[in-house]
């Protein structure tokens, strides 16, 4: 009875002491755990392709576009705007390949690879973008020739890897899309000229003209004007270099 009376008389004091003790414990706990911080990665880990069916809840298109937005804004979180040179491009390549499994018709990912992520300050990283665009466009070169051209442009102008650019340019020239411009067929010649291989460039342009004469291909008027300008311009140069096509081995590549 006396004990109970003592308890009721001092309950407010006990409560205050207990409150202060637990507050002190909470502060102590926070001091000991404040080193645990969220991982501020720039490119997030690539999702597991086996778990797509769970995460997408049956609507892969919705999931694809949510992830596309996420990868476009990757790194730009918590007030950060990291430069593209800090991005992990190998991981980006894996992201792009993964996203293609969700939707292989959309042009969002090749667009981001060509016009956004290829602008990195660390130029060797763009090899991953060229590799991705090559894989993307090679599935259907007739439809995706534009993305193959972007891969060629990255290899030629950003990486300055003319061997790779030439390989990709030949793939570009194989397209049979009637709406693709003439220069897509002519592009290997441009790269050959950069490599000072006038013979191969000559054969490519010669082949285009033969195809035109035989009616295999049809050019628009403006395309013919461009081809005429190209030939005239090159002829002047070839004359000054004393180029003799008879010395070329036929079919040089």
């Amino acid at each position: 009875m006396a004990c109970n009376l003592f308890f009721y008389q001092h309950i407010r004091k006990f409560s205050l002491i207990l409150f202060c003790s637990f507050l002190a414990l909470q502060v102590f706990f926070q001091l000991k755990t404040e080193y645990i911080k969220p991982n501020l990665y720039i490119v997030p880990p690539v999702p597991n392709d086996k778990l797509v069916d769970v995460a997408s809840l049956g609507d892969k298109e919705f999931y694809f576009r949510i992830l596309a937005l996420k990868i476009q804004n990757a790194g730009d979180t918590f007030g950060r705007f990291p430069p593209l040179k800090d991005y992990d491009y190998e991981k980006l390549y894996q992201w792009f390949t993964f996203l293609d499994t969700l939707n292989d018709k959309s042009s969002i990912i090749p667009f981001l690879a060509s016009f956004h992520f290829s602008q990195t300050q660390n130029k060797p990283d763009t090899i991953h973008m060229a590799r991705y665009l090559d894989n993307y466009a090679s599935r259907n070169i007739d439809e995706y020739w534009w993305w193959m051209y972007q891969a060629v442009a990255i290899a030629q102008f950003t990486l300055e890897d003319f061997d790779l650019a030439l390989k990709l340019a030949y793939k570009l020239s194989e397209n049979k899309n009637d709406n693709a411009p003439l220069w897509t067929k002519q592009y290997p010649a441009f790269v050959h000229l950069k490599l000072n291989d006038s013979c191969s460039a000559f054969f490519i342009v010669n082949q285009i003209l033969q195809d035109y004469d035989s009616g295999k291909v049809k050019f628009k008027e403006k395309e013919l004007d461009f081809l005429h300008y190209f030939i005239t311009h090159r002829l002047n140069k070839l004359e000054s270099e004393k180029f003799d096509p008879r010395k070329c081995k036929s079919g040089a590549k």
Partner: protein, 254 residues
């Protein structure tokens, strides 16, 4: 039956929850359009998919909440007993509920369809998407009515229906897991029983993961097989749930 249908529609119009769904849909349209426009390219297509995806979630959750609260409230304020005292059979009451809620759902589908039409969704794809989402919601309404009849509390019936919806949307994963070769997993008694459990679930739950794919709103219909599957699944599952509801409700004593 007509009177009950009219009554459900009238209470839906008066209900703040129903109006809340329409308000949330309007907010989702706005946010989806803004988010879609932040993408570097394919802004319209992305807005369409975001609107469709968010509308489906709001629509499904909203209809589950509305149905479960409505049915439980009807039991709690003795409305059901009053209706049954008139010349209405128990089975007729269930059918009225199912039809009434599906008409309520149709009214919500109109602004969704209109919004997607106005931002240039593929027309054939939109027609089939609306049909598919209507069937999906009809199945959910049937589950919500059944769970509200079986369970005594509105909250538990809502949780049960939401759980059912999420599991049904994950069925593709379950089916894939059941098909995994035993060599790929550590096969023992536990995994074997889990495998059997998943197989059993895949028989009981509907394949809602095949319903209302938002890619048809952009690219149109490439494969009509999904449409047939959606229709067949609905024609099997809605009557199944309706008969379960009849069976349960006929046993109930007031």
């Amino acid at each position: 039956m007509k009177t009950i249908l009219k009554y459900i529609l009238l209470t839906a119009i008066r209900d703040k929850l129903y109006l809340g769904i329409l308000f949330l849909l309007a907010a989702a349209f706005g946010i989806s359009s803004i988010l879609g426009n932040t993408l570097a390219t394919e802004k319209v297509a992305t807005s369409i998919v975001y609107i469709a995806g968010s509308a489906r979630i709001i629509f499904a959750v909203g209809m589950i909440l509305f149905t479960c609260f409505y049915v439980r409230k009807s039991f709690d304020n003795k409305e059901v007993e009053f209706i049954l005292s008139k010349a209405v059979s128990r089975n007729q009451l269930i059918i009225s509920y199912l039809l009434g809620f599906s008409v309520v759902a149709l009214f919500i589908l109109i602004p969704i369809g209109l919004a997607l039409f106005l931002i240039n969704a593929n027309l054939i794809g939109l027609a089939f998407w609306l049909m598919s989402i209507f069937f999906e919601i009809f199945i959910l309404i049937s589950v919500a009515v059944l769970s509200s009849l079986i369970l005594k509390s509105a909250v538990t019936s809502i949780l049960a229906t939401l759980g059912f919806y999420i599991l049904s949307r994950m069925m593709a994963f379950f089916v894939l897991t059941v098909d995994l070769p035993t060599k790929m997993i550590d096969f023992n008694n536990i995994t074997a029983s889990l495998d059997s459990l998943l197989k059993l679930m895949s028989f009981i739950f509907p394949r809602l993961d095949l319903f209302a794919h938002s890619n048809m709103l952009i690219y149109g219909i490439n494969d009509y097989q999904f449409i047939i599957i959606t229709c067949v699944q609905s024609l099997i599952y809605i009557p199944l749930l309706a008969f379960m509801s009849f069976s349960d409700f006929n046993k109930k004593q007031f």
